[in-house]
Symmetry: C2
């Protein structure tokens, strides 16, 4: 099982992705999928709704896609800057991703409690940088944010 | 609300997609997203795991992606040849897609009951052609099928 310092390193990768997305004019949510050792990066990505006009490209699905075809997700960790929405929570459950490291759950609460109920190890880091990023963004662009979560 | 004959027409589009996927050497699951009138096609697609080495391209997510950015999914119908997995069920719930027309639930049971619990109108057509397609495929390629559902 990855250590807390490994969890924070994984989240840092996700946060870099979120900031890259913001710099591109996109929605600042990032994610990274790591192998069971907590060190090997399988895939990373960020929300690309604006950049690619692709509503299916959430951070977690982008990281999952970047990891390519895998025979099993046992032991893997999905680090994400924000509580995963139902779409991304469903991804985690369907493919048996074992762990989810969540940057914050203050600006949005998705399906992370549901994942815990279904046996996923969910770690909430309550990271101030993640909170600040989404607080600023949702204030600046409520229209875009609501579009992204179907609200 | 679309009529049963409209539901069957929507499913036919999804089935065409599934067959196109099979002809490409892929996993034969297809989907189509229709506007509230039950007639206007917003997007269609099929599973592209094999074709694009993209595990995120399930039939429903491909159809959703093809529809591009939409401000609201209220009243829309997602027709799919097979019971939607958790990933695709999460998509439907998150974005507020109102209806799901399911070709069959015999060869796989995903999250369609969960969607019903959460207010989605789920119609199961139990279509023999959809059943036959997946029965043949899961017998012929159990490896690929298990990979696609993370089993």
């Amino acid at each position: 099982m990855p250590s807390e310092s490994q969890d924070r390193r994984m989240l840092r990768t996700a946060l870099e992705e979120a900031r890259a997305g913001l710099a591109e004019g996109g929605i600042p949510i990032g994610a990274a999928l790591y192998a069971a050792d907590g060190t090997t990066l399988l895939g990373r990505g960020h929300n690309r709704r604006v950049q690619d006009s692709d509503p299916s490209a959430h951070a977690e699905t982008a990281a999952f896609r970047a990891a390519g075809r895998q025979r099993s997700y046992r032991g893997t960790t999905m680090a994400t800057t924000l509580s995963p929405c139902w779409y991304c929570s469903g991804l985690v459950r369907q493919f048996g991703i074992s762990r989810v490291v969540v940057g914050e759950t203050r600006t949005f609460r998705g399906g992370h409690d549901w994942l815990t109920e279904h046996g996923v190890d969910v770690v909430i880091l309550d990271d101030p940088a993640c909170v600040a990023l989404m607080t600023d963004f949702t204030k600046a662009r409520p229209d875009l944010w609501n579009e992204d979560i179907g609200a």
